[in-house]
Amino acid sequence: MRFKKSAPQTTSSNDSFNDDFNENISRNTLFWLLLTNVLVLSPLYQDATLWSIGICAICFVWRVGIYLGKVAAPPKLLVTSLAIGAAATLALVAKEIGMLNALVNLLLLGYALKYIEMRQIRDVKVVVLVGYFLIAFALLERQGMLDAVHLLFVCVINACVLISVYQHSSKKVNLSFGFKVFLQSLPLALLLFVVFPRLPPLWLAPSMKNATTGISDEISLGDISKLTRSPSLAFRVGFDNEVNNTTKQQLIANEQLYWRALVMESYDGQTWKQANLRKNEQRSAYGNRSQRHDSQVVDKSSALNYQVITEPTYQKWLFGLDQSFSETEQVVELADLRLFSLRNIDQRFSYRVTSFPNSSLEEQLPPLTKRINLSLPKDTNPKAHALAQQFATDYPIPRDRIAAMMRYFNQQSFYYTLSPPAIGSNQVDDFLFENQAGFCSHYASALVFMARSSGIPARMVAGYQGGEYNPKAGYYSVYQYMAHAWTEVWLEGLGWVRFDPTAMIAPDRILDGFDAMFTGEDSYLQDSPFTSLRVKEIPWLNDIRLQLASLDFYWSVWVLGFDEERQLQVLSELLGEVNTSKIIILMIISFSIIALVIAYYAGVFNLSPKQDPIIKRYNLICNKLANKGYQRETMPPQAFATFIHQAVHQEQPQLAADFDKMTEHFIALQYQPLSDKQIEQHQTLFKRYFRKVKMGL
C-alpha cells in the first residue's frame, strides 16, 4: 500500500465569505469551457445565421487567446454594445428567419458573448445553464439515436465545467467523474421517462422555419419527378397486427398502400392545387377541432391500426391509408378524409392511425364539393374534352365510363417515363395526343380532366405509393422517391373510389413498388452518391442496412414516439392495473434502490478503508499467538519474530522458521520500496508461509 501524499492547497478569500462567486476561474475550467463551447455550438450550425456563426467564432478565438495568455479580456463596453447590436439586428430580421430561429440565434449570441466576458464563477454557471438550453434546441432537430448519444456526451462535457470548479484534479479525473455522475443518473432518468406524465402542448410555440421537403400543396406536372430523385426517408409505418408476426412476411400488398397526403381539387390548366374550401378547413382546424365521426364506416372489421413516424417535412399534412382516423393529440381529421397536424412537422413526429380500407368514402357528396370537383378551366384542352364527350355518349353509366377511360390508357401506346418531353399550354391535350409519355401525375391529371368534363366528380390525390418492408422489425419505410399521384372518382352509392391510371400503363410500379420498375441509378440514386440505399443490391450489406434501420425504427417508436398510450402499455405490463398509489410505491422503491446503488458506488458505505489483506493475515496470526500466550503488544514485527523464535523453536522449530520467513516478507511488503514484480513475489511467499504458520498453530 503506497499513498501519494498530496500537499493540501488552501485558499482564503478576503472580501467574500462562504461563497465561491468571486473567485477567479481556474485554468482547468477554462479548458472545459473551450471544449464545451465548440461541442454545444456545433450541432446548431444549421440554424445559426452567418453572422451569428461569425461572432461565435470571434468569441471562441478570443477565448483561446485568453486561455493561452495572449490577449486580455475584452472591455465591458465592447461586449455590451455588441450584445445590444446583435439583439437589435435579430429583432429586425426575426420575421424573416422565423421566431424560433431568431430565438436560437439570440441564445447563441448571448452564449458567445457571456462566454467571452466571463470573469467569475457565477458567469461560468450561467454559461453552463444556457449550454443545456442550447443542447435542447439541438435535440429539436436531431433526434436520431447517434445524435442522442452525441448530445448526451455534450451534456457530460458541459457538466465537467462545473465539476472542474469544485474538483481540483486533472482533466481526466474531471471527465471520468462527469461520466460517472451522468451514467449513475441514467437509470432514474429512464424510470422518470417512463412514469412522468406526458402533457399535450400547452400553447402553440413558434416553429423552425426551414425549406419544406416532400410533396407540396401545388403540383405542376413535373414536380413529382423531382421527388423520385430523392432517396431520403419520408415516413415509416408499423402495423399493430404485424409487429408480433413471426413469419416476418409482408402482409399488406404493395398495391394497397396508397398513402394519402393531399387532395387536389382545383385545376387552373397548369397546376393542381388544394381548393380554397380545403385550405379554409385547414386554417380553422386549430380553433375548431371537429373530428370526423366514423359512423359512416360500415365495415369496421377490416380496421388497420398502425403507427406512422414521419420525418420532418416543415408542412402540416400527414399520411394515412384510405379513410383514416387518429386519436393522437395535435392531429385533426379533415373533411376530405385526410389527417392534418396542427403544427408544422419540424421534427420527427409519430402518430397513431386507424384506417378502414373497405369502407366507402363520403357516400353523400355535398353540393359545394360536387361543384368544385366538376369545375374545369374554360376553353382548354378541346381535344381531351371532345374525347370525354365521346366516352360519355358511349358509356352512360359513370362506373363503366371510368373503367373505359382506364382501359383507354392501356390500349393506346402510352408509356411510363420519369423524364417526359415538354408539354405546352394545353397540358392534357399535349399529353394525351402528342407525347403519350409521362408519369403518375400526367395520367392522373388526364383522367381527372376527362372524368370531370364528362360530368363525373373527380379529383387528384397526392401522396406516396408503396413501401419497403423491413423484415427485421416488421415495418414499412416510405421514401421520397415513392411519391405518387392518382385519382379519386365519386360514384353514386360508392363514394370516392380510387382509380390509378398508372397501374394500367406500368402495373409493376404499383404491384411490386417503385424499385421493380426503375433501377435506383436512373432515379433516386442519381443525385445522391452516398446514400445507404446504394447497398440494396449487395445482400449482406443490405442486411446490415435493414438491421440498423430497424434499430432506428424501434428508437423512433419507443423513445421519440413514447406517448401516453405507450406509457400506459408499459406501466400496465409492469404493474398490472395502473393506479396512482401503485406508481407512487414503484417510484419510492426505485428511488431508494437507485440511491443505495449510487451511494455504494460513490463509496458512502466504504468510509473505513478496507484493511490490507496482508496486515489482516498478519494480525490473524498475532491473535492466534496471543491465544497461546505470546502477546505481541507494542513489539515491532522484527522483535516479535525474534521473541516467538526463542519461545517456540525448541518445541516447533518448523513453525519458528516459517514465522520468521513470514515476518521477513511482511516487513518487505510493508516497509520496503518495491517494484510491482517484487511485490507480487513477496505476496506469494508471504501467503505460502502464512498458510504454513496457520497450519502449525
Binding site: 445553464l129 469544485y166 422518470l192 400547452l202 413514447f562
Partner: protein
Amino acid sequence: MKSSADPQAHYRPKPKWYSRFIPKRIKQRWGRWLNKRIPPNKLVTLTHKSIFILPSGFGLAWFVLIGVLYLFGTNYQNNLVIGLSLLLASVLHTCIIYSYKNLAGLTLTSQVPPETHANQNMAFPVSLSSKINKNNSHTSHQQICLNFAEQRHIRLTEVGESTHATIAFSPQARGEFNPGRIQVSSNFPLGLFRAWSYVDLDINHIIYAEPLNTQVSLTSLDDDNTSEFDHGKLQPGVDDYKGLKTYVEGESLKQVAWKQWAQGRGMLTKEFAQPEGKPVWLSLDDTQGTNIEQKLSKLAWQVNALSQSQQIFGLALHQDVIEQDSGEAHRKQCQQLIALFVKSKFAKPKHSHSKNSKSNDRGADEI
C-alpha cells in the same frame, strides 16, 4: 489566489440579509437544538446526524432549467427534450448523494490557537482528516469551506489524510472568548447542493489586552514589608546612576535600560554606582492612563517587555496579585490575569464591555 493585502485590515462581519428577520428566540432554540445534536467536542467526525443538505442558489436555477426544458419539450412534443430535463433532474438526485459523501467521515480536531491580543485578527487552527479509501481518487473531500459565523472563510481544495487549516476571526475585545461553531460547507460536486455542518470544537480562547507601547514603570517593594506595596516610584538611578553603556552578553538583564530599548536604541545597560537591582512590581494603580483599558494595555506591554528581558517581576491588579517570577509561564499567567480583569469593580468603560460579553455567548446564536 490572492493573499490578504493588508493583514492588519479589520474584517467587518457581514450578517446574512435574512438574519435580522429571524426572532432571537428561534435563534436561541436553534442553538440549543444544535448543541444537543452536535455537542461541542475537541474532535468531531461528520456523520449523517450532523450534515445538512439543501439546494444552493444555483441548484434552484437548475430546478428552473428543468422546468423550462420540460415545458419546452412538452410544447414541442419532443421526447428527447423531456428526457434531457428528466436526466438533469436525476443528476440532482445523484448530486445529493455525492454532496453527502463529500462531507461524511471528515474529522475535525481543534488545535491550540496562537496567542492573540485584542484588536488583532485571530486564526484558529484546525486539523482535518478523513478515513477515506485512497485508492479511489473520487472519494477524498473536495472544496471544503470553513468559517465561523459571519466570518471570513477558508477553502481547502482537497482534504487528504491530514490537512491543517486556520480559520480566521475578526478582532475582538480582551477576555475569554469562544468563537462558536465552525461552519463546514461544500458545494461539491456540481454546486447544485450545499452540504454543511456546524461544528463546535469547544474552543476556549483568552484574548490578551492589546499592548500599548509605553515606558516600563516599576513600583519598588520595601524589603522589610513584603505584604504591602510601596507607592513611591523607584527613580532609576537618581542617586547612583552613572550613565548608559552598550550591553555586553553576560551582564545582568536587570540593568538593561528598557526605556531606551523600547525606543529602539538597542540594548543598553544602566550603570549604577550601586548595581544591585531590587525586585519590581507592576501595579495597576500606579499605571498612568485615561481609562482602565488603557492602563491594562500598558501593563500588558510591560509584561511582555519585562518577560523578554527575563526580568523578575510581579503583577498587582488591585487585589489580584501574581508573585514575582519570570519566564514564559509567568508571562502567560500575568497576561491572562490582565485579560480577564473584570472592570465592573470600577468605573465601567463605555466601549468594550458589551462587545465582550456578547462574544462569550455567541455559540448560541449562530445560524
